[in-house]
């Protein structure tokens, strides 16, 4: 199976989020971008399918700055091709409508069986790249997937619903699938293998011109939530906190 994995770089939530001067977007000056966690699961799922069924895995990402290390790590994990798409404005951040339009231009004439990407990313505000791209390519899309098997030229996906319920759906190929979690945790590749990939592998580059972000709803203001609606904090050491909790429990008739 020829699988394409889409990786989107998103803000690292380990850091503090800051709003830029226009008050309509995140301040990206000191922002560290990391590959979206669900996209890493998508890559892992692709590699698992590749190990089971054979074929190729190609990783595609928009060049938002520091993407090379992630791509080389993907090669070290088993990806066959890694491609970065270069365009103006990517570093400043583009919305998913624009990103999916770029990807459409890059992939519309490419042959593939499956596109895997994460169901959503932490900075999605206008839908997700996967289903938007699927619509542009006129391909079926199913999201929230935690398992994929192949059956008679189609794939069967396991879709997560609330309460732990799973729906099995049969999907015709080619298709775009949104991964919620891979069947195994994303593999860790030792640094020496990544370093080796850096020396031996090449990242293909693709240039793209127009970037069309229309279709997303405009953001008038972006802001951090007020701290005033916060919990009443109980100070003190473990003994004092435990006492306070017991008092609360008793007060509310819970014990």
């Amino acid at each position: 199976m020829h699988i394409i994995v889409l990786i989107k770089f998103v803000p690292d939530l380990v850091e503090e989020m800051e709003i830029d001067d226009s008050r309509t977007a995140l301040d990206r000056t000191f922002m560290r971008l990391i590959p979206s966690e669900q996209d890493e699961h998508a890559l892992e799922q692709a590699l698992l399918l590749n190990e089971r069924l054979g074929g190729t895995v190609s990783v595609v990402t928009l060049d938002t700055g520091d993407v090379d290390e992630t791509l080389f790590t993907a090669v070290a994990s088993g990806a066959d091709r890694v491609i970065k798409i270069i365009g103006e404005g990517f570093e400043a951040g583009i919305n998913n409508h624009a990103a999916s339009a770029v990807l459409y231009e890059a992939l519309k004439d490419v042959g593939f069986d499956l596109i895997l990407t994460g169901t959503q990313a932490v900075d999605d505000l206008d839908g997700s790249v996967g289903p938007l791209l699927a619509a542009r390519l006129d391909l079926p899309y199913v999201g929230y997937i935690t398992g994929i098997t192949q059956e008679d030229g189609k794939i069967v996906v396991r879709k997560e619903y609330p309460g732990g319920l799973i729906a099995e759906m049969e999907v015709s190929l080619p298709a775009v699938i949104g991964i919620q979690a891979a069947e195994e945790a994303p593999r860790y590749v030792v640094t020496s293998l990544v370093m080796e990939a850096m020396k031996t592998a090449t990242i293909e580059e693709l240039d793209v011109e127009a970037v069309d972000g229309s279709g997303a709803v405009g953001i008038e203001r972006m802001y951090l939530p007020e701290p005033s609606e916060r919990a009443e904090m109980i100070d003190g050491d473990v003994d004092q906190v435990a006492d306070a909790l017991v008092a609360l429990f008793q007060e509310r008739g819970l014990i």
Binding site: V14, R187, Y188, V189, V190, T191, S192, L193, E196
Partner: protein, 694 residues
């Protein structure tokens, strides 16, 4: 030609042939191994031979067995001529060998040592058959016991033989007082007729010779091969500082060790030298906690696998007479995976790299290096638990195992006045390399801040790398992620290069170890100190004015990477004494300290298969002293592990874990007024409890 010399000759040649064949076979297997690093420092090596082989120094770490082996070793050396003589005189009955056959003083030495050997062997049999120490578990016990009996037989038959010869006037040693013990043995038979004594004497000779030849034949098989190989093994041992782990072996893109022939022949020589004594197993914290790792069984397993695989490879190549193995069984052996089939993954991941085993081994067998080399391979195959892999992912992305932003590394400094120097911008005398745990663990923030305050009070001109600091990488090397160590070390060195400072201090012994032993750039490195050394200097010079003597009774736990690896034992004790603490020692102290279980990356792994954590075993050891109020540590991971252990075993009222800096800071304050009932201070109430209990 008379029959007897023929028999002796034939017997000797047969035994020699068997011995040589077996020796050669093992030599051929060893040839499969990789080249060893070149050998240097021959002066040191000669000294090692004198101290560790002839002096048997490490043997005495277990005093009684050590004494026993000392005698057996010297018995073997001194009595070797008698064995040669026995063979020669059997083949050439009229031969007269000067000195060895006739020198009186030598004979008396030999007689006395023979008694010592017998005593040692009897003690050994007592251990094997009655005492049955834990460390023998898994060793080839039958073989060990058999050889003890063989040695006993050789000794007694020798004395009997010599004694009867004296009786019959056939001895070459004159006067008879040069063989007092033999004479004593002979006197037991003096009442018998001459003919009978001839027969017994002759029988003693044949038994003596026969057992010696049997021993020769079985020598290369099993643990007594060490008789041949140990001298070489000690002479050729690794003389690098233990804290400097050898680089990762690489084979055409494969990192670490996958097959047994990828070890060096020198390591294989070490396996041949293993006597299965179990001292390594005895001191191993992983083994004590119930994990499947025994350093002894690891080495025995590697040795056995080398033999079976070597033989199978010979058979596959059509060389050697191992065709007996046959294609089927041989193929099965060749398909065995070193990691997984021969040595299980869990065994390799159980090691804390505490160095107790390597230090204990009388023959300098290295256990940690093979484990790390095999771990290096396992990681390339993603054969590690998910928690470890997640920690490695965090270390690679953020430079710390906590998954916290590198920009928050110095958040512990918030609120400290005056603000600590940023050594990236301002020169300072001392660079304080803080380390992951001291920086990020919320439970340790107070201790790190206390350290800063004490440094300031001592007038030390110090600064931090702030956000530029990364995990120093000691445990990354030991968990098998060599590449990540190099990456982080490169970043640290780049940061250090840009700063101006004269020396480095750290509170973390792991950080200390790698900075001292593995970070030398272009051969030069600034002096690195552990904070206990800095505290000692500051207190003794008066720069850190101690306001009052604490008067506590404490026990000190020696961190593995400070003590065993780097020989620092006294500085923390002197600090404790200088602040008025009475230090009581746990049975396992200094280089026998029991590892807390966090090293070797274990603190990043899932805890599975543990019966009792080493940290809990250790706390119980401290409590059994009966009078230690505080369990004092000098390592951030120790604080974490031991405070957890005290809680888990419910001993919060009995003993408290304190970092040495907490006690030092307390001593810097003026004494609080004497505290009696009503006051919650620990000191007061504890002291009173002590007095009441007497």
């Amino acid at each position: 030609m008379p029959i007897e010399p023929m028999l002796v000759l034939v017997g000797f040649l047969a035994a020699l042939t068997v011995f040589s064949y077996r020796l050669y076979q093992r030599f051929v297997h060893m040839r499969l191994g990789q080249p060893a690093r070149s050998f240097t420092q021959f002066g040191e090596r000669i000294k090692a031979l004198l101290v560790f082989v002839f002096g048997q120094r490490r043997l005495f770490r277990f005093p009684m067995p050590g004494l026993g082996h000392f005698f057996i070793f010297w018995g073997f050396v001194l009595l070797f001529p008698t064995i040669v003589l026995a063979i020669l005189e059997g083949i050439f009955p009229d031969l007269l060998v000067p000195f060895f056959g006739t020198f009186g003083p030598l004979a008396v030495l030999q007689d006395l040592i023979a008694v010592a050997v017998i005593a040692a062997v009897l003690y050994g049999l007592y251990l094997r058959l009655i005492a049955k120490p834990e460390r023998y578990q898994g060793s080839h016990q039958a073989e060990g016991t058999l050889v003890l009996f063989l040695i006993l037989t050789i000794m007694t038959s020798l004395l009997l033989m010599n004694g009867l010869r004296q009786n019959l006037g056939e001895s070459l040693i004159e006067p008879a007082y040069w063989q007092p013990i033999s004479v004593l043995v002979g006197s037991l038979f003096a009442g018998l007729g001459e003919g009978v004594q001839q027969v017994i004497g002759s029988a003693a000779y044949w038994v003596h010779l026969g057992v010696v030849l049997v021993f020769l034949a079985i020598l290369p098989v099993g643990k007594h091969f060490h008789v041949v190989t140990s001298v070489f093994n000690v002479f050729l041992r690794n003389q690098e500082p233990p804290g400097n782990l050898p680089p990762a072996p690489q084979f055409d893109g494969q990192v670490g060790i996958k097959n047994v022939e990828q070890f060096s022949w020198l390591q294989m020589l070490a396996w041949y030298s293993c006597t299965e004594c179990g001292r390594c197993q005895e001191v191993c914290p992983a083994y004590a906690s119930g994990l499947p790792l025994s350093p002894k069984l690891l080495i025995m397993g590697l040795r056995a696998h080398l033999f079976e695989r070597g033989s199978a490879l010979q058979a596959a190549n059509g060389t050697g007479s191992s065709q007996a193995i046959g294609n089927g069984a041989g193929q099965e052996v060749l398909e065995k995976e070193l990691t997984g089939d021969v040595i299980a993954d869990e065994v390799l991941w159980a090691c804390t790299t505490c160095y107790a085993c390597d230090q204990e081994c009388p023959l300098f067998v290295e256990h940690i290096t093979p484990i790390v080399d095999m771990r290096r391979y396992l990681l390339t195959q993603q054969r590690a638990d998910t928690q470890l892999m997640a920690a490695l992912g965090n270390l690679r992305r953020y430079g710390n195992s906590f998954g916290q932003s590198d920009r928050k590394r110095a958040m512990w400094t918030k609120g400290l006045e005056p603000k600590i120097k940023d050594i990236r911008k301002e020169a300072a005398q001392t660079l304080w390399f803080v380390g992951d745990y001291a920086s990020y663990s919320p439970a340790l923030t107070a201790i790190t801040q206390a350290t800063a305050r004490v440094f300031q009070k001592a007038g030390i001109d110090f600064g931090l790398l702030y956000d530029a600091e990364r995990n120093a990488g000691n445990d990354l090397r030991r968990v098998g992620e060599e590449g990540l160590f190099e990456l982080l070390a490169m970043k640290n060195k780049a940061a250090l290069d840009k700063c101006e400072f004269a020396d480095i201090v750290t509170t973390d012994p792991h950080t200390y170890n790698t900075l001292v032993n593995e970070y030398a750039a272009n051969g030069k490195s600034p002096p690195v100190y552990h904070y206990t050394e800095v505290l000692e200097r500051a207190i003794i010079s008066g720069q850190l004015p101690i306001q009052h003597q604490l008067g506590y009774t404490v026990t000190f736990h020696d961190p593995c990477y400070l003590g065993r690896y780097n020989g620092i034992y006294d500085a923390p004790r002197r600090v404790l004494e200088a602040i008025g603490c009475r230090v009581v020692e746990m049975p396992r102290n200094r280089d026998r300290s029991l590892c807390c279980g966090a090293g070797g990356g274990r603190i990043w792994m899932e805890e599975k298969g543990i019966n009792e954590r080493p940290s809990e075993i250790r706390i119980r050891e401290a409590i059994s002293l009966g009078n230690a109020q505080y369990f004092v540590v000098a390592c951030p991971k120790d604080v974490t592990m031991y405070r957890d252990a005290v809680k888990t075993i419910g001993q919060e009222g009995t003993i408290e874990v304190k970092d040495i800096i907490e006690l030092v800071e307390e001593a810097l304050l003026a004494a609080s007024p004497v505290l009696l009932e009503g006051d919650e201070s620990r000191t007061g109430s504890r002291l009173i409890e002590q007095e009441v209990d007497g």
